[in-house]
Each structure stands twice: as structure tokens, then as C-alpha cells.
């Protein structure tokens, strides 16, 4: 008996997906041509599932900054900030992030996952109370476990349910930490933040918003949902990532909290991991400036999101509650999701196969994310492929041309 035998329950489902064609867990690109195009098995595909919201991965200025930094500072820091010291880029980026959000403090983590792990587990510990949206990202759930705090879930995006559960906690609600996400990564739906803030204020709790998928996407300056909802003053902590709108890797926490500097010595996922390499820091700094200044990128992203969402919905596909750069098409079952995912790939469209337990309500989804870098023609092509396949597999009743 091997140590991995306990995972054998996953063997048959994984083999089943592999038997249907490509394996989403091992898609291998031969080349990436641009933020929106790659080569898979010698075939050019449109990238529609890479969270590259502002399309900055090939931005010439970001690339130049990155190349200059690698020449000047080397390829890596080879250790943690505590052990190997901080490079000037790390503090420059932290200062820029604090400035961007209008907060006193910022700290940078090596991945977005670690930002939640290290931020949340640094803020709450044994005896504290952590209140999570039921559809929280895995990194938030893992942070909860690491923190050893008492964890209560509330129904997804439901401020009344949040209120009820906090009331039930009695005196313990005061000083608890509520965690919500700006845009939820699977369906693309947005938290009702104004209502959440009202509950938080009434109950004397703290509020942390994970803006991973909403930074650069929502708000006039791209600061995310808190900015868009006009409640930034009521949000105590913001966590985000560099691996989506900012086109690199890493994460951050910003706040006005007193004694913020103590987090640097109590947060294990911050302290015991190598810091971000200078090249990553350098491109992220440039991308952050672009994110704030280039309003046109956000407008293009919103237009692209509308085009895809409206197009799919009008065809008759079941999609999320509103347009967002993340559009998830609900498939009738997992088998059809796998079939459609393979057929989309064969027809030059790469997006994400999202199946339980990684999805809310056991849904099987085709999850897409658009970029400001997509052209209307590319999205038109995607819509044509979706229509052709939907008719072929009986997911759609009639073509747009026939219904017009």
C-alpha cells in the first residue's frame, strides 16, 4: 500500500476526463504569442481563460523594466526578506501599492495564494473569529485552517445571512474578521459590498476584501470593488494579486492598521519563503502605473466582457447574473462540460474547465476570462464557435441567423 492510495478515489474521474481528449491539468503550450494567442499542439488558439484582464503580459514597457532589473539585480533573491534582506524594488512596490490604495501600509507576498494565507493567518489566530463567504477561494479556506481561528461561513453574497450569523455569535461578533471577494473567480459575480459594510459597521467587525479578480477591472482608478462601491473607508484590509491584471506573479496586503509591521515577523507564509525576484517586482511596478493611469484599458475590457456575455446569453446559454470579465457558461453535466471543453479547444478556443468540487453548487462550468487585449473580431470568433458547437451538441435550439 502506497502513501498516495488515499487519493485513489480521484483516479477514475481523472482517467475519465483524460479518455475524453485533452487533460486540463496538463495543457502544455508550445508558445505564447501574445496576451490573447498561444500555440497548443502546433495549433493556434485564442486564450480566453488566463485572467490576463489588462493584457499587460507583453506590454513593451513592462518587459523592458523586467529585463533591466534582471541584468542589474540578477535572477532571484535566493531567500526570504528576513534572511536575505529587502531589495529596493520590494519597498518601492510596497510604497506604490500603499499610495495606489491611499493606505499607510503595504506588504508584498510571493504569490496571491500566499497573500491570503499569510495576510489572514497573520490577522486572526486561536480564539479569534473568521467569517467567510461560503464560495471563498481555496486560499482563504487554507488561511482559515492555518490561522486556527474559529470559522463561520455565511451564504454566498447574502448580507442578511451574514447579519444573522453574526447576531448568533453574540459578543463574539465584535472584532471578528469578515472576508469577501470583489469578483468571485468561478462565476464572475460581485459581492454586495455596500450592504456587507452596513452589517460590518453595525456589528463592530473588521472587513477584508480580496480584490484578486477586481483590481484593474472595477473602479475609476482600477482599485477594485471597494472603490466602485464607494466604501473604501469602511474596508479595513485589502488583499490582491499581481498575477491577473498586473501580468506577473505575487500578492499584497494593504491597510491603515496600527502595528502593521509586526505582520512581517508573525506571518509564516511571508517570513519563510523566498521573496519575489527583481524582474517580477520591476514589471509589476510599471503595470501598476499603467493600471491606474490607462483608463482606456478598463473601458476596452468592459466592452469585451459585454460582447462575450451578451453574445452567449442571447444565444441561449446559461451564464452568470451579470456581465463581468469572467463569464461562466453552465453546462448540463460534467460529461457535456468535458466534451464541450475539448471541442472548443479543437476549434481554437482555450478556456477553463471548472468542475466540482472546485465550483459552487456542484456546477460544471466552462469558465472564460476576457482581456482588454482581445479584439472584437476574436470575441466574434469565440461566439461563432460556441454557437456552432452548441447547435451540434443540442445545447442550443436554433442559430442566431435562423431566429433573426
Amino acid at each position: 500500500m502506497g502513501l498516495l492510495d488515499k487519493h485513489l478515489g480521484y483516479r477514475a474521474p481523472l482517467d475519465g476526463i483524460r479518455a475524453a481528449g485533452a487533460d486540463p491539468s496538463s495543457v502544455r503550450f508550445d508558445a505564447v504569442l501574445s496576451p490573447t494567442e498561444g500555440i497548443l499542439d502546433g495549433k493556434q488558439v485564442i486564450l480566453l481563460g488566463t485572467n490576463n484582464y489588462l493584457g499587460l503580459t507583453f506590454d513593451p514597457e513592462c518587459i523592458e523594466a523586467s529585463a533591466a532589473a534582471v541584468r542589474e539585480w540578477g535572477t532571484g533573491t535566493t531567500g526570504s526578506r528576513f534572511a536575505n534582506g529587502t531589495y529596493s524594488g520590494h519597498t518601492d512596490l510596497e510604497r506604490a501599492l500603499a499610495g495606489f490604495y491611499g493606505r499607510k501600509h503595504a506588504m508584498v507576498f510571493t504569490t496571491g495564494y500566499q497573500a491570503n494565507l499569510g495576510g489572514i493567518s497573520g490577522l486572526v489566530g486561536r480564539g479569534d473569529h473568521l467569517i467567510l463567504d461560503a464560495d471563498s477561494h481555496a486560499s482563504i479556506y487554507d488561511a482559515a485552517r492555518l490561522s486556527q481561528a474559529e470559522v463561520i461561513r455565511f451564504r454566498h453574497n447574502d448580507p442578511e445571512d451574514l447579519h444573522k450569523r453574526l447576531r448568533r455569535m453574540g459578543d463574539q461578533a465584535k472584532g471578528s474578521l469578515i472576508v469577501v471577494e470583489g469578483i468571485y473567480s468561478m462565476i464572475g459575480d460581485v459581492a454586495p459590498l455596500k450592504e456587507m459594510v452596513a452589517v460590518k459597521n453595525e456589528m463592530g467587525a473588521y472587513l477584508l476584501v480580496d480584490e484578486a479578480h477586481s483590481m484593474g477591472v472595477l473602479g475609476a482608478k482600477g482599485r477594485g470593488l471597494a472603490e466602485a462601491a464607494g466604501v473604501e473607508d469602511d474596508v479595513d484590509f485589502i488583499i490582491g494579486t499581481f498575477s491577473k491584471s498586473l501580468g506577473s506573479v505575487g500578492g499584497f496586503l494593504v491597510s491603515d492598521a496600527e502595528n502593521f509591521d509586526l505582520l512581517r515577523i508573525v506571518s509564516r507564509p511571508y517570513m519563510f519563503t523566498a521573496s519575489l525576484p527583481p524582474a517580477v517586482i520591476a514589471s509589476t511596478l510599471v503595470a501598476l502605473k499603467r493600471c491606474e493611469a490607462d483608463v482606456g484599458l478598463r473601458a476596452q475590457l468592459a466592452a469585451n466582457a459585454d460582447q462575450l456575455y451578451d453574445g452567449l446569453r442571447e444565444m441561449g446559454y446559461a451564464v452568470g447574473p451579470h456581465a463581468s470579465p469572467i463569464t461562466a457558461v453552465v453546462m448540463p453535466d460534467q460529461a457535456m462540460a468535458v466534451t464541450m471543453w475539448n471541442a472548443l479547444l479543437a476549434n481554437g478556443v482555450y478556456l477553463n474547465l471548472a468542475i466540482p468540487p472546485a465550483t459552487p453548487n456542484n456546477l460544471s462550468l466552462l469558465r472564460s476570462s476576457v482581456s482588454a487585449a482581445h479584439t472584437p473580431e476574436q470575441i466574434g470568433t469565440v461566439l461563432d464557435v460556441f454557437e456552432k458547437l452548441g447547435l451540434h451538441y443540442g445545447l442550443l435550439q436554433r442559430s442566431r441567423r435562423a431566429s433573426a
Binding site: R153, R155, M169
Partner: protein
Amino acid sequence: MGGSRMVELATDLTVREVARAAETVLGRSVQVTPETDIARDLAVDSLALMNIVMELEDRFDLSIPLDRLATVQTVGDLSELINKLRVKA
């Protein structure tokens, strides 16, 4: 003894509520005893278990912190945890 009979009765009722909560979340009928292994016998994954707990919090008007589930394996374990938390509340 009357006291122990009362405890037994409370446990029976809690087990029944666990079954009803599981049925609501899973959308199918389930047969449970205190010995039923939640993951193995009911094919409940960690997410479904958390949803069942949420359902039970509402039925008993009680907070059941998720970190307390680490020691829960059977329906009996879960019922016991609920009864313990009810006494405290």
C-alpha cells in the same frame, strides 16, 4: 436512569436533524445511524459537509465553527458536537 434516557433521546433527535440537513444539501434521501461515516457512507465531500453544517446552524440556531469539524467522522460525532455546543449556548 431517566437522565441518560433523556440524553439518548436528544442524540436521536439530533441524528435525525443531521439526516434531514444532509438530505436538503445532497438533494437525495439518506439513511443514517450514529455510526454512519459521513465521508465514506454518505459520499459527502468537504464542501458538502460544510454546507450541511450551515444547514444545521440554522436548524439549531447555533454557531458551529468549522475548525471543530476536524474530529468529526461519523454522524454520531457531529450530533455530539452539536449537543455539546447547545449546552454551552
